[in-house]
């Protein structure tokens, strides 16, 4: 009998905050500048430089912690994390250790089967490292290389979020990441772009016999650059570990780098040299004591978060529809269209399908006018509907001109036309009657053409079937 295995997955996510300035100096914070053009003595770690924390970054970290239902520390402390690497100019990173800003929260991930609660161990604030570029040195013959360093990124505020090992499948892990990303973006904290590195994540994967609560050796998967890619990578790693255990082997602790061009931390030389970071409280900084007033003000600035909206809207629509609307950034418009009188399901249908295809910014749309369109969708010719929808984002759009032309649904009007067409195509009519039911489309098409598109396709369909026999 084969053992059933349960995957155990934990995530470590880094989110760059899009504040105006860096975490410990007031250099401009932003991607894409000329190398080393956004630097100063502090982020270059010149002798005598001192860190000064960014108040906004602290507040945004607290906000993120509140959105994740964390307890906010009464007193949070920065620590020095000591190690040598070219992208770490002080040879220590200012981070947080045992007194982080936020701890003990959770993110509820709605799924088709209900809500999965993923524990958040902690969320803390630290500074990002510089960018190393490893190159071949010019003039050298034998593949000798050098490392070039750009300190623009050095000192960018970074929030590190660590989850409990509460995930047990790749798909939920992917949904967690997507939901976290959307939450962070909606709160205005970060662009959270994987390609730019404003959101990065590592995955810890292990497996255990189903039903046990042991925690076995885990593998760390680093530098995956898309959520889909991550889900596949996780699944492969789960399968690999199961194969090893079932063959009687042992899983080694290791780190798998998926994108070597973006390695970020010094690789271990050997097991003996496991990093000893020698954390100690940062003596150049004083503690952060947020206070209840600040925390409550920040809490008040958080609206209804995407996860909660999916759950709430799932009470009206299907989970799938609710999920598509919220993750597609369409649910606010949907709610407004429904408030203006449209049927919830019809509105969801139009938004999730035809509207999305137009690429129009939901924020540009007058919900009242769109509601009229949705309500008249089956009453007006398809062509009119599509034309109206394409313009629905334009300023001053009104639906009325497009609603004037109604589809013809009156069988008294349509039957004679249908009969005429059947007569004119007696050959196809015979074929249809002898079993070629695919020809129905041909007849419907002819009728639509004859009526210039203004016939109601459903009624045409019905009547053609009835009249063909």
């Amino acid at each position: 009998m084969t053992t059933a295995w349960e995957p155990v997955i934990g995530l470590e996510i880094h989110v760059q905050l899009k504040t105006e300035t860096k975490m410990f100096c007031r250099c401009r914070n932003g991607f894409g500048g000329e190398p080393n053009s956004q630097t100063c003595p502090v982020c270059l770690a010149f002798p005598g430089a001192l860190p000064v924390p960014n108040r906004r970054a602290i507040e945004e970290t607290i906000k993120l912690g509140l959105a994740l239902d964390c307890a906010i520390a009464e007193r949070a402390v920065f620590h020095r994390k000591n190690y040598f690497y070219p992208d770490n100019p002080k040879a220590y990173q200012i981070s947080q250790y045992d007194e982080p800003l936020c701890a003990g929260g959770h993110l509820d991930v709605p799924t088709g089967d209900g809500v999965t609660r993923i524990g958040i161990t902690r969320a803390h604030l630290e500074e990002d490292a510089a960018k190393n570029v490893h190159v071949a040195a010019s003039g050298r013959i034998h593949g000798a290389t050098a490392t070039l360093v750009d300190f623009n990124r050095c000192g960018t505020p970074l929030v590190e979020i660590v989850t409990e090992p509460d995930l047990h499948d790749a798909e939920t892990a992917k949904r967690f990441l997507q939901l976290l990303r959307q939450t962070v973006v909606e709160l205005g904290l970060s662009d959270a772009e994987l390609e730019h590195g404003s959101m990065r994540f590592d995955v810890n994967v292990s497996v255990r016999p189903a039903g046990s609560d042991e925690l076995r050796t885990r593998t760390e998967l680093k530098n995956m650059n898309s959520f889909n890619f991550a889900a596949k990578g996780i699944e492969r790693e789960i399968a690999r570990q199961i194969r090893i255990y079932e063959a009687g082997g042992v899983v080694d602790q290791e780190t798998l780098h998926f994108d070597p061009a973006h390695e970020e931390s010094p690789p271990m030389r050997s097991k003996e040299e496991a990093q000893d970071y020698r954390y100690f409280p940062e003596p150049d900084l004083v503690p952060v004591e947020p206070g209840a007033e600040l925390v409550e003000r920040l809490r008040g600035e958080i609206g209804e978060l995407p996860g909660a909206r999916i759950s709430r809207i799932s009470e009206t629509l299907s989970f799938y529809d609710a999920d598509v609307l919220v993750t597609g950034g369409l649910d606010r418009l949907w709610a407004a269209v429904v408030a203006a009188g449209a049927d919830p399901k019809d509105a969801a249908n139009v938004l999730a399908n035809q509207f999305v295809a137009t690429g129009i910014d939901p924020g540009a749309v007058d919900a009242g006018e769109l509601a009229k369109l949705v309500a008249a969708r089956t009453d007006i010719p398809r062509a009119s509907f599509d034309e109206a929808l394409a313009k629905v984002g334009e300023p001053g759009f009104t639906a009325d001109p497009y609603l004037a032309e109604r589809v013809v649904a009156d069988t008294a009007e349509l039957d004679p036309i249908i009969e005429r067409i059947i007569e004119a195509n007696s050959g196809q009519a015979e074929q249809y009657r002898s079993g070629k039911h695919g020809l129905l489309g041909f007849f419907v098409g002819q009728v639509m053409k004859e009526t210039g598109g203004s016939a109601d396709p459903r009624v045409v369909n019905e009547r053609v079937r009835a009249l063909l026999g």
């Binding site: 007031r26 250099c27 080393n36 040598f84 070039l148 360093v149």
Partner: protein, 94 residues
């Protein structure tokens, strides 16, 4: 006794990125042992009810507004650079 072993000297030297000659290791082993013996006096006291002091001043919440300053011109950035490659700092491969 707080004597430090040769392995421990090599270990901390490695952590601190100091390349020591064999003579140095022996010399420092002796001196570090003396120092550590002197400083381990701190553990003689009963400190069970005493909180650690990280700062002489009891202040909190020192921070700055999120307003950018002028960054350094490149000439200043690289004024003391041992090895500049275009607009990058160059080091042997990491």
């Amino acid at each position: 006794m707080a004597r430090i072993t040769k392995e421990e000297v090599l270990h901390v030297a490695r952590l601190a990125r100091l390349e020591l000659s064999d003579d140095d290791v022996a010399k420092f082993q002796e001196q570090l042992s003396d120092i550590l013996e002197a400083v381990s006096k701190v553990s003689e006291l009963d400190l069970s009810d005493v909180p650690p002091t990280a700062h002489p001043l009891e202040i909190a919440n020192a921070w700055a507004e999120d307003v950018p300053h002028d960054c350094l011109p490149l000439d200043d950035v690289f004024a003391n650079a041992p090895d500049r490659d275009g607009d990058y700092f160059r080091t042997p491969p990491a």
